[in-house]
Symmetry: C2
DNA sequence: TTAAATACGATACGTACGTTATCGTTAATC
DNA sequence: GATTAACGATAACGTACGTATCGTATTTAA
């Protein structure tokens, strides 16, 4: 083994890591994802395009998945500004629509799918994924519900974690299973059902 | 190429395919999934255990994913009897609980995760998956909602497809992201919210 | 100024595994 | 008995991740 890859070098004795190389690697990663997609993405090609040895890549990221994750993460969060429409329905609709716009038919979306697939087989990535993606995204969404509780829109007794899963679970489901389109009608229908329930639109002619 | 792998040979000239080999392959697949899991599953090991040449495997299944899928599918559907409790709430709760029981901490569950991951990179499997898994499972679930509409429990105008995604999307979400446990409380909370909505439990002290 | 430490790019290597190809053999039909 | 196709065994192919090696460059410390 060369050296311990994970902890940052702080400032030690030898030659410092090149920030320029790091930028070049991330740029090459992004352009390669754009041109070829996650499936045909290889570390060798990144190395070639960035004009960088493979050791320089592996010194920074332990696996292919963690590299792609970092390049992905940089823009994903930037594309999803936290909404504040003043009421829960508006916030949920906004956040779900933004997500769909960021993901449907985009490089970001394909990369997201590839990463979720990769998370299931790369334990190093799984750790980063839980800590740097799932946790912060959920923290952001949690706020929407907590604000609604503060406003008195919903009861403080509701299970916010389940509510978040009800909001995004169906979206990820359609993204991964591809059985039906992710469109605005879908977003509205999801939000309406979560808030009002299926029974609210019930016919009068019930038993 | 040897021969066309997909269409069944019907009954032609040469030596017929051995049903015994086919059984041995599927048995070896199941036991290997049980012992090692999807990640360490290899075709070579199946070939070895089944006492069968690799060509005999590839003659029947075009990719590793499609083989695992068939072995998986045989028991998955068997573990999920369609419920009929007489009302929608009972049916939804029953079907979701059964799914959780079949999937949580089981070989079936790990294989399901592996297959969903594999579907994203194996187009042959993706086709089989859509046709032989997603479609029939959804058809079964669609019945639950259609019966409820016939009973007058819910309006005929609701979007059943979205309703199905709301029921299982959160469950698949937790299965794949592993952020929270799949338990009975979760199942109940999901079903209650889908039927009643978050606003139904609203505090009286609202703005 | 020199030694130690570390990163650098280039490149070869090891490894794993899915998939294909080859081959002599066997079991069926015509 | 000729033809056809499946059989098991085994080798070969192709790909790509990740590691190792090496001579060089850049930094800090003595």
């Amino acid at each position: 083994m060369d050296e311990i890859p994970v902890p940052a070098p702080a400032r030690g004795r030898g030659r410092p890591r090149s920030e320029e190389s790091e930028r070049a690697i991330l740029d090459a990663t992004r352009s390669l994802l754009k041109e070829r997609g996650f499936a045909e993405f290889t570390i060798d090609e990144v190395s070639r395009r960035a004009g960088v040895g493979k050791s320089t890549i592996y010194r920074r990221w332990p696996t292919k998945g963690t590299l792609v994750f970092e390049a992905f993460m940089i823009e994903f969060l930037a594309e999803l500004p936290p909404p504040d429409t003043g009421n829960l329905r508006g916030d949920l609709l906004a956040v779900l629509r933004s997500w769909i716009r960021a993901v449907k038919g985009t490089v970001t979306g394909h990369t997201l799918v590839g990463l979720i697939s990769e998370v299931q087989r790369d334990p190093e990535l799984a750790e980063v994924w839980a800590e740097k993606f799932v946790a912060p995204v959920r923290a952001q969404h949690r706020l929407l519900f907590e604000r609604a509780i503060d406003r008195g829109e919903i009861a403080s007794t509701i299970d916010v974690e389940v509510a978040m899963d009800l909001l995004f679970g169906p979206a990820y489901h359609r993204l991964l299973q591809r059985h039906l389109a992710l469109d605005d009608r879908f977003a509205e229908s999801v939000v309406n059902t979560i808030l009002d329930g299926l029974l609210s639109a019930k016919d009068v002619s019930s038993s």
